[in-house]
């Protein structure tokens, strides 16, 4: 696989972004030889648990460290902060066998993060270029879009559950993408837990919003029991209904052609 692909997963809170991200990662691990970069951009930082990995620190924490040291005047006056932060962010990267995980965490603390965030964007761009596949689990809602953290995204998957709010958020995301001119190459709607009798509603919603529908992840007892017992979703049986749906989605969004 020669070209690089960046996939971003967004949608209203609680619609299943983390589930979709985890299952897609499982698909990538099973079907490619690539080491994927997974970015948990949700301040709640649930992804490490769902993937069954332990994380020392988040990017938010090291940014806070930097802010604190700036305030105390602890940093060497001649050391460019961008170089320091680059090293610190790299140190938060959690390596596992088949994927690397970076958690953004919360940008805690008061004061101005303009500069730190600006530098971070560049650092993340550089990091992403090292991976053939990057998978971004975005924070809930639409805030990340106006901050343009999704720039240079090839595929954006917008997840919705069977709720009016899920649709509304998806619609708002569509509008914002157009408003702020983010360079998203292709956007899809993904349904989560739509029962068969509501699939036509999902299709219609996708049409109305103007998204192509990538598929629906059906209700799956395995997902529920894995989440309940805290077992990593990556270990879910291959014949689970949700994972079978992921294979279809991967095909639909062209991931299959890339590997």
């Amino acid at each position: 696989m020669s070209r690089k692909i960046v996939i971003s997963v967004s949608g209203k809170g609680g619609t299943g972004k983390t589930t979709l991200t985890s299952l897609l990662l499982k698909w990538i691990i099973k079907n490619t030889d690539e080491v994927a970069l997974v970015v948990d951009a949700d301040p709640a930082t649930n992804l490490p648990d769902v993937l069954g990995v332990e994380l020392d620190r988040t990017v938010g924490q090291v940014s806070k460290d930097m802010k604190d040291q700036i305030e105390r005047g602890d940093l060497s006056p001649t050391t460019p902060k961008q170089d320091l932060l680059e090293a610190w962010v790299f140190q938060t990267l959690m390596e596992s066998d088949r994927f690397d995980l970076l958690a953004m965490g919360r940008s805690e603390g008061e004061g101005c993060y303009c500069y730190v965030n600006n530098v971070l964007t560049r650092i993340l761009d550089t990091l992403t270029k090292n991976y053939s596949i990057s998978l971004l689990d975005m924070e809930a809602g639409i805030e990340h879009l106006s901050r343009r953290t999704d720039r240079d995204v090839d595929v954006m998957l917008v997840v919705t559950d069977p709720s009016k709010m899920g649709f509304e958020t998806s619609k708002r995301i569509k509008e914002l993408i157009e408003e702020v001119h983010i360079g998203v190459k292709k956007t899809y709607l993904v349904g989560n837990r739509f029962p068969p009798q509501l699939l036509d509603v999902l299709e219609k919603a996708a049409d109305d919003i103007g998204f192509e529908l990538a598929g629906n992840i059906p209700e799956d007892a395995n997902v529920q029991s894995f989440n309940m017992t805290g077992k990593p979703l990556l270990d879910i049986p291959d014949d689970s209904p949700s994972y079978r749906a992921i294979a279809e989605i991967a095909k639909k969004i062209g991931l299959e052609n890339l590997v």
Binding site: V35, K67, I70, E71, R72, G73, S76, P77, T78, T79, P80, K81, Q82, D83, L84, E86, A87, F90, Q91, E95, D97, D100, E110, G111, C112, Y113, C114, Y115, V116, N118, V119, R122, T126, L127, K129, N130
Partner: protein, 460 residues
């Protein structure tokens, strides 16, 4: 690059940004798991070094245990007629780029925090000795920094020696930082501008100089230089200082020109070290805010984390709202705490002699940088809570501001909150007021109606 034909791996800018995963590395030099590591450039006299000499003390690349990290030190000696001690840091910073140019070699951080990794792949291709590493670095230095006439490199992996040298290196870094802290705005011909905050303060531009950090406190002149180098057209860019118009107020022709351009004509002049006349504009996310206290004819500074009320009964938000948004407001401006450590701090207005109140939190952070004789004379939130208390405190401590009160007798404090302001004459050019003379405008229960009002800048 033909220059590196005899090197078993490729060398070039395309490898910058390459990250080596722990699982793919042959070894790690330094890094967070090692206590002792450093990279150091030392300027020497021409006769002190042997050009091209490479020394390896301890294990070479091929002998280092695979998959492990190791203590590491690297000393680069350079000499040349034009080589100066002050250039050591500049030469050292190039290592970050140069090492990253090598295929399969990652360089992160710097100085005593350096972290380098070599990939298994590059090792297997034959990059198996520090000699090759040194060759690449020497060639890059010679081709890009013409003032380097001789270069010699020592690598140390012998743990005891790394530790020994680490101590020496730390002292050298500290000396270098002390020199950098003493660097003055007058020594450079380039400042940096930062327009990151223009998204919410469209007429604001931070001017970053060696002695005036960006208002957010995050961007030093050195950061500006590093950012502008990576992304010259980005939000942090060079400002050639141009002619120095006034060294006391800190006004530069080059700065004025850029400010005018970047604020779309809204702001025409900026004087860096004053709160009156043409103060630096304020973004919205400054670390602290300076505010004029008319009753004292002095200044207070309040920072963002200060939760209480200032001595004149305001809070940070109220004070910062008076100036935020890219405005130029007499007597108020956002600032970084670091700027308070600068000898240029409020230079045009009398510097520390005009500061009468700061939160104890700020005082603790900066007191070693304040003129020692003023430290105890400036009140904090722990000393006083209101203006009467402040006045008594200042008198008791014999704060220099007190002599200003007696020099220019003022009304008893009360509802009149406008004492004599020593405004630069250029701030309010009113005909008939001789240049340099102070004047006073008092408006009481005023209602002003005007068909037209013209305020002109003093072209003189």
């Amino acid at each position: 690059m033909s220059m590196f034909e005899d090197i078993p791996v490729d060398v070039g800018i395309i490898y910058e940004g390459e990250r080596i995963r722990g699982r793919d590395m042959q070894f790690e030099l330094g890094g967070p798991r090692e206590e002792y590591k450093f990279e150091l450039v030392q300027a020497k006299d021409l006769d002190e070094i042997e050009d091209g000499k490479i020394e390896i003390i301890g294990k070479d690349i091929s002998e280092l245990e695979a998959g492990k990290n190791t203590p590491f030190g690297m000393i680069i000696y350079v000499a040349g007629e034009e080589m100066e001690k002050d250039l050591e840091g500049v030469v050292e910073r190039r290592l970050h780029e140069y090492v990253n140019f090598i295929e399969g070699f990652m360089h992160l951080n710097q100085r005593y925090d350096v972290q380098m990794r070599l990939s298994k792949k590059s090792f297997e291709k034959g990059f198996n000795s520090f000699k090759l590493f040194a060759e690449v670095l020497m060639r890059l230095y010679r081709s890009e920094m013409s003032f380097i006439e001789k270069i010699q490199i020592t690598f140390i992996t012998e743990p005891k020696l790394v530790e020994e040298w680490f101590g020496k290196a730390m002292e050298i870094y500290e000396e270098r930082d002390a020199r950098a802290r003493g660097m003055s705005d007058d020594e450079v011909d380039v400042f940096y501008g930062c327009s990151l905050c223009q998204s919410f303060a469209p007429t604001h531009l931070c001017v970053i100089t060696p002695q005036r950090y960006a208002n957010c406190g995050a961007i030093s002149w050195f950061d500006g230089r590093a950012s502008a180098k990576v992304d010259p057209k980005g939000p942090v860019f060079e400002i050639p200082t141009g002619d120095l118009i006034d060294s006391v107020t800190g006004e530069y022709a080059g700065v004025n020109q850029v400010i005018k351009e970047k604020s779309l004509g809204e702001i025409e002049r900026v004087q860096l070290y004053t709160a009156f006349g043409y103060p630096h504009t304020s973004c919205g996310c400054f670390e602290g805010c300076l505010f004029y206290i008319p009753e004292m004819d002095g200044y207070g500074v309040v920072h963002r984390n200060f939760k209480g009320e200032t001595v004149n009964g305001l809070n940070f938000v109220t004070i910062s709202d008076l100036t935020a948004g890219g405005r130029q407001v007499d007597g108020f401006h956002g600032l970084s705490i670091e700027y308070m450590r600068s000898p240029k701090f409020m230079q045009a207005d009398g510097g520390w002699d005009r500061v009468v109140w700061i939160p104890v939190d700020i005082k603790e952070r900066i007191k070693s940088f304040m003129p020692p004789e003023i430290v105890d004379k400036i009140a904090t939130d722990e000393d006083v809570t209101d203006l009467d208390g402040l006045r008594a405190f200042l008198q008791e401590q014999d704060h220099p501001i007190v002599s200003r009160w007696t020099a220019a007798p003022k009304e008893e404090p009360g509802e009149i909150a406008v004492p004599t302001l020593e405004l630069p004459a250029s701030a309010f050019p009113i005909q008939g007021v001789p240049a340099g003379m102070g004047f006073r405008i008092i408006l009481k229960n005023a209602k002003i109606r005007a068909e037209k009002m013209i305020i002109k800048a003093d072209k003189g």
